[in-house]
């Protein structure tokens, strides 16, 4: 098991290297020259040249790339063209907001997705099943940002019960600051701030989680149906245990194995979806910021963000595989024997 994990971690290195190459190619080779965008229309050619030299853009591409890699290995992802602050600092000041949003979304998606999926499978072809499947279908078909807009129109515009954007009322900003407001407000015992942070979190999390919920619902349902038709379910029934126990004890544990994978993969793809959700809800996270930086050609930041997200993404995949091995005894032991 340990060997397997080490091997998998080593395999991450070429993937991340490849990702850096792809990002570097897109941002430095195919993109237009950032100088006029950063310096504005009225900059002189001398200004532009000086700026390029200052940012290392006058060197040959491969040297730029090597510099970038060297920096990345030492935790230095360069500085923003605009703010002149280190990219890592820019990223980490915004990252907790995105993580908090993504976690809230995946929790909502998993809880509702698994619940609806199980009910749909157990009551196959009932009205509940059809309604659940329709919801799942609409969930995968709605653009995240439009769902966000609809939620804002309804909850903020029509009913005035939830805020339309932001993370928290500025007056309630938590004193303790890890950047995770839910955690911060709980630690500082400020229930009013906690309630406000939750009120701000609910709509974006729902909008972001809807797609994942739909996917998890479908996966849970089909996995449950598949499991319920297995021989060992018949054996369990033949033992005389109650149908409830057959479902919760024998079917669910087996059915959850593929669902776990899907949840993990969804957590990764949520990071992509966060770009849109954060834009709609003015959520001060990494996604919102990335779009901004792409639009104004702040390459070092974009490179850093994409690399970081790719890193998290492959890391999640690794964790999913390990969790998979933990809940499915067949994998763990076949590794040992083999």
């Amino acid at each position: 098991m340990f060997k397997y994990i080490v091997k998998r971690i080593l395999m991450l290195i070429p993937v991340l290297l490849g990702v850096s190459i792809i990002v570097f190619l897109i941002m430095r080779v195919f993109s237009p020259d950032p100088a006029p965008i950063v310096l504005g229309q009225h900059a002189t050619i001398e200004d532009a040249n000086a700026w390029r030299a200052a940012n290392g853009l006058d060197k040959p591409l491969y040297i730029q790339f090597v510099d970038f890699l060297k920096g990345a290995l030492t935790g230095d992802l360069g500085t923003s063209y605009y703010t002149k602050t280190p990219v890592t600092q820019e990223i980490f000041s915004r990252f907790p907001a995105t993580i908090e949003l993504a976690l809230a979304a995946i929790i909502l998606a998993s809880v509702f997705g698994i619940f609806i999926g199980i009910i749909s499978a157990v009551k196959k072809n009932s009205i509940i099943d059809h309604a659940g499947m329709l919801l799942a279908l609409v969930g995968v078909s709605m653009p995240i940002f439009w769902l966000g807009i609809l939620l804002i129109i309804l909850f903020a515009g029509v009913w005035h019960i939830l805020p339309s954007g932001g993370r928290i009322d500025p007056l309630l900003q938590p004193v303790v600051s890890s950047g995770f407001y839910i955690y911060d407000t709980i630690v500082s015992g400020d229930t009013e701030a906690l309630a406000d942070a939750l009120r701000h979190l609910i709509l974006p999390a729902a909008a972001l989680g809807m797609y994942s919920m739909a996917i998890i619902t479908r996966m849970t349902r089909s996995s449950m149906l598949e499991t319920m038709s297995q021989d060992y379910i018949r054996t369990a029934r033949a033992k005389g245990i109650s149908e409830n126990r057959v479902v919760t004890h024998h079917a669910l544990r087996n059915a959850m194995i593929p669902v776990t994978t899907v949840i993990g993969l969804q957590l990764g793809s949520l990071l992509g979806g966060a770009v849109l959700t954060e834009t709609v809800f003015s959520w001060p996270g990494i996604g919102n910021y990335t779009v901004e930086c792409i639009l104004k050609s702040d390459f070092p930041v974009v490179q850093g963000v994409v690399l970081l997200i790719a890193f998290i993404f492959v890391l999640i995949n690794l964790v999913v595989d390990i969790v998979y091995a933990l809940i499915d005894p067949r994998i763990k032991f076949s590794k040992k024997e083999g």
């Binding site: 439009w146 804002i152 990071l271 992509g272 849109l276 997200i309 790719a310």
Partner: protein
């Protein structure tokens, strides 16, 4: 099987033989037949046909010029004259939604065509050749999959600049890995089949074997993936448009319309309703059809 323990004659034997001889064309036909029994999939198909008609004959049914702004008529709530109302520049939203149909379908189809073509070629090479070629291609695909596709598409757009043609390339490019993976997987499983082995023994050339024997078999899986892929492409197009990376103004693209009307979410919410419905309906239709095709393809599900 033991000598003294006789098995009863197996009645399913003739069917198994038939299965082995089954031709790919008959599988597509079977897929079509079972699709015709699937109400949801048929609904999807009809909606798609409807959308295609709207896209083709849109200019004939639009009551107004979708791009003509008229500030004196801005923000008119939906009424009998302007069914979906007018936007911030006084343009008729109904006409713009119709005009957007053509853009979305074109971008969706072209993007899928790009990813499909490149993906099938890469996947075929990887699956058929195996070895180092396979490793290199598939590792590259893994790297692309490690970046959330919407982020990758946004980065592409930033590099390429605005415009529909660029959106097509960006969206098409980011989903290449999915097709490559499917094709490779199918080829690996089909490769060992008897009739392909037989073709190889007879001495057919590799390219011939791929195109004549393997691809037709892979076709059904690809048709499913491509149908679902169109819905993803339509969603991605809308997302790029929403972020202001899609079409050049004043072209009417659903996502772009939503993005530009965002500021009026409380004053003129209707401007944000109809383009969204159009996107959802289109995506839903392709999802319905794609799901139906997939169920039709999967014999295990078919039996239920």
């Amino acid at each position: 099987m033991s000598m003294q323990h006789a098995e009863l004659p197996k009645s399913e034997f003739p069917e198994q033989t038939a299965d082995l001889l089954e031709k790919p064309e008959s599988r597509l036909k079977e897929m079509w037949e079972s699709l015709c029994e699937d109400k949801a999939a048929l609904t999807g198909l009809f909606v798609i046909l409807f959308l295609v008609l709207v896209a083709l004959f849109g200019p004939l049914i639009m009551p107004y010029d979708p791009n003509l702004s008229n500030m004196t008529k801005s923000f008119i709530w939906p009424n009998s004259e302007h069914w979906f109302g007018t936007d911030q520049l006084g343009r008729d939203i109904f006409s713009r939604v119709i005009a957007g149909t053509r853009i979305s379908l074109t971008v969706g189809l072209s993007a899928v065509a790009i990813s499909l073509t490149i993906g099938v070629v890469l996947g075929s090479i990887a699956g058929y050749r195996g070895g180092k070629v396979d490793t290199v291609i598939m590792r590259f695909m893994d790297m692309m999959l490690a970046i959330p596709s919407i982020l990758l598409a946004i980065a592409f757009m930033a590099a390429l600049g605005k415009g529909l043609d660029k959106a097509v390339i960006a969206i098409g490019f980011v989903s290449i890995p999915e097709y490559a993976r499917i094709v490779r997987g199918c080829i690996l499983s089909v490769k060992e089949n008897d009739y392909v082995q037989a073709a190889r023994v007879i001495g057919n050339k590799s390219s011939r074997i791929i195109f004549k024997h393997i691809l037709p078999n892979v076709l059904s899986s690809i048709v499913v993936r491509a149908t679902l892929g169109i819905s993803t492409a339509v969603l991605d197009t809308a997302a790029l448009g929403f972020l202001g990376l899609g079409v050049q103004p004043p072209a009417a693209e659903w996502g772009d319309m939503l993005g530009r009307a965002r500021g009026f979410v409380f004053t003129a919410p209707y401007t944000l309703i109809f383009p969204g419905i159009a996107i959802t309906l289109t995506v839903l239709a392709f999802n319905l059809l794609g799901d139906g095709l997939r169920d039709a393809l999967d014999p295990k599900l078919r039996k239920n």
